[in-house]
């Protein structure tokens, strides 16, 4: 009896320890399983294509084929002539043009987005009206980007609605050139398409501002503008940063809007990549894409350096 009973107390803790590690291992396995779907989506739709792009950007190509070999020629081509200071190279000029659109779009979407969000957050009292107006902001998304762009064409053309109206009213004699297929129309379309990406995060930030802070500012003798600048804007910074990242990345990579609204005459980085793709110069396009990715990442890093997003969220 004794020799059977004796091992029991010694064994019991060992068994619990074992089962403990087993449960710990099971929970850990479960955690991995729970994270797996998203990780898989990331892997398949983000990391793999990105790796492929980077890989292809180092391949060789000629008129007929793409050759899996290692070369940096594609990158050399991208920056060809960029070291001469007198005449900026094509890449640099393209980037400057894209950056210009980027900046103008950012400035206008920020101005409009902030104003609309401010109106929604602070002037609309009832939550229901607020929600309704907010949904109205998203209605344009029920149609495609391209259709929304194209709908500008009958308005802005030489004999379009705007020119016709201005002429019939007698403000102008000859139609204004450059309403369509110009920098103006490109920026206009960009602002039209992207403002909502500014409105949503800014509104979100503003909705979180405690109303008593505005009263406290009023109590402290701040005017409306002073409250706006000293209380609302600083507390809306995270929303502004997120909106800016949306708008900047969208504009930097765009080729459709620039193509359609620029009458296929205006260069942009995305457009360069698209042209190279259509002539099957995949390695060159890939190299350009990698450079663009780097540029956008630098811009976003600079922005997050200004605002600590992780802390603010």
């Amino acid at each position: 009896m004794t020799d059977i009973a004796l091992p029991a107390p010694a064994e019991a803790p060992a068994a619990t320890a074992q089962s403990l590690t087993r449960t710990a291992r099971r929970t850990r396995r479960l955690a991995y399983l729970q994270a797996a779907p998203l990780a898989l989506v990331f892997l398949v739709f983000f990391l793999v294509p990105l790796a492929l792009t980077v890989m292809v950007s180092f391949w060789e190509y000629n008129e007929y084929e793409i050759i899996p070999a290692f070369t940096v020629q594609n990158y050399v081509d991208v920056f060809e002539g960029c070291l001469s200071t007198s005449d900026p190279c094509t890449t640099l000029r393209t980037y400057l043009s894209t950056l210009k659109f980027c900046f103008l779009t950012w400035a206008f979407t920020l101005l409009i987005g902030f104003t609309v969000a401010y109106f929604l957050a602070f002037h609309v009292r009832s939550a229901r009206t607020q929600m309704a107006l907010f949904l109205i902001c998203t209605i344009p998304f029920w149609t495609s980007n391209v259709i929304r762009m194209i709908s500008w064409i009958p308005l802005l053309g030489r004999n379009g609605l705007v020119n016709d109206t201005l002429r019939s009213v007698g403000i102008i004699d000859a139609p204004i050139e450059g309403l369509l297929y110009s920098d103006f129309s490109v920026v206009l379309a960009f602002v039209h398409l992207n403002t909502v990406f500014m409105i949503v995060p800014i509104f979100n930030s503003m909705a979180r501002i405690d109303r008593s802070l505005l009263e406290a500012a009023y109590d402290a003798g701040a005017t409306g503008w002073q409250t706006l600048w000293n209380v609302v804007v600083p507390l809306t910074k995270p929303g502004i940063a997120i909106g800016s990242i949306f708008v900047i990345t969208l504009v930097m990579g765009d080729f459709v809007t620039v193509g359609i609204m620029g009458g296929q005459q205006i260069a942009s980085v995305g457009k360069v990549i698209q042209v190279q793709m259509s002539s099957l110069q995949f390695p060159a396009a890939a190299a350009n894409a990698v450079v663009l990715l780097g540029a956008v990442m630098v811009m976003i890093l600079a922005m997050t350096r200004l605002i600590d997003l992780r802390r603010e969220l």
Partner: protein, 329 residues
């Protein structure tokens, strides 16, 4: 500065939040607006501070009716219930905020802010953000921020309600000390009668948008004007006498057992609560209290210990005749 309310009224649509109240608060007084939630006390405070428009009537601060003047023009400053510190500014900049709005230079406003923080013993945390402070510390900063512009009247909206009970008592003492030192008029909204009694020179008990009673705490406690005041201020039994006359008797003036006197009424003991220095005895007596509410008798602990009562026991209950205060309403 004196603060005077004349037929002050606030209506929201068809509901009347504040119903034509008249009140005079003398300069340098600590005034507490006391009442249950929804009685209009906060609305009154906000109208005095210029954060709520006045439907009719007037707020007079010092020599003039303030009308629709902005808070900073009234000489009032408000301390908000949730403190409303700017989360993106550190303590010093929070305090300096109103000075910055007035265009005071950086060095000057920082020096003034530090002086104010010194007054509330917060200089050592001046670089901290509000989120890094405890409730009591945030409150001190809020107080410094309200005081920095040199207001004549300080308005406090339930300033102690967010603190734990221990801290509440400490901050209460400090508020009173500051008020006396600075000689300012404080108007303090609270729903705690204990707080109002401890702090105020003038207690204003409000109910349903009207003032039930305004007076010094002792008067309000000794001679409550209405059954509502007697009940709200606590420590009273509202007793219905034959002929539907109502009197308020302080719970500690109730007499039990053989000390109950000649006109004693039998009552059943429904609760006995030991409170340390006293014992609260809950009593049910037919016809004495309105709609079956229990009466309370507070006995000194030694009296109770010498002659304890048991739950469910029926004892004669009476009170000192001079302790009964006639209620008119």
């Amino acid at each position: 500065m004196d603060v005077e309310l004349i037929r002050l009224t606030k209506r929201y649509g068809s509901t009347t939040a504040v119903d034509g109240i008249d009140l005079r608060i003398r300069s340098g007084d600590y005034c507490c607006l006391l009442g249950p939630s929804g009685c209009g006390k906060t609305t009154t405070l906000r109208m005095i501070g210029g954060h709520e428009t006045v439907s009719s009537g007037d707020v007079v601060i010092g020599p003039r009716a303030v009308g629709d003047a902005a808070p900073s023009e009234r000489g009032t400053a408000m301390m908000f219930q949730s403190y409303a510190l700017f989360p993106h500014l550190n303590c010093r900049d929070n305090v300096a905020f109103s000075l910055k709005m007035r265009g005071v230079g950086k060095t000057e406003r920082r020096a003034k802010a530090m002086a104010m923080l010194d007054l509330v013993q917060m200089t050592h945390l001046s670089e901290r953000l509000p989120a890094q402070l405890s409730g009591g510390q945030q409150q001190r900063v809020a107080l410094a921020r309200a005081l920095v512009t040199g207001p004549k009247v300080l308005l406090l909206d339930e300033p102690l309600s967010a603190l734990d009970p221990f801290l509440r008592v400490r901050m209460r003492t400090e508020l009173k000390r500051l008020q006396k030192d600075l000689g300012l008029t404080f108007i303090h909204v609270t729903h705690s009668q204990e707080e109002a009694m401890a702090l105020s020179d003038l207690v204003v008990v409000m109910n349903g948008g009207r003032i039930e009673q305004a007076g010094d705490p002792r008067t309000v406690f000794e001679r409550p004007a209405s059954a509502f005041v007697a009940r709200f201020i606590g420590g009273h039994n509202v007793i219905v006498l034959p002929g539907n006359r109502r009197v308020a008797v302080r719970a500690d003036r109730m007499r039990l057992g053989d000390r109950a006197g000649a006109e004693a009424v039998p009552a059943r003991i429904v609760s006995v609560e030991y409170q340390g220095s006293s014992v609260h005895v809950g009593l049910e007596a037919k016809g004495l209290a309105e709609d079956g509410t229990a009466l309370t008798a507070i006995l000194p602990d030694d009296t109770f210990a010498a002659r304890p009562f048991a739950l469910g026991q029926t004892v004669p209950v009476g009170w000192d005749a001079e302790a009964a205060h006639r209620l008119t309403a």
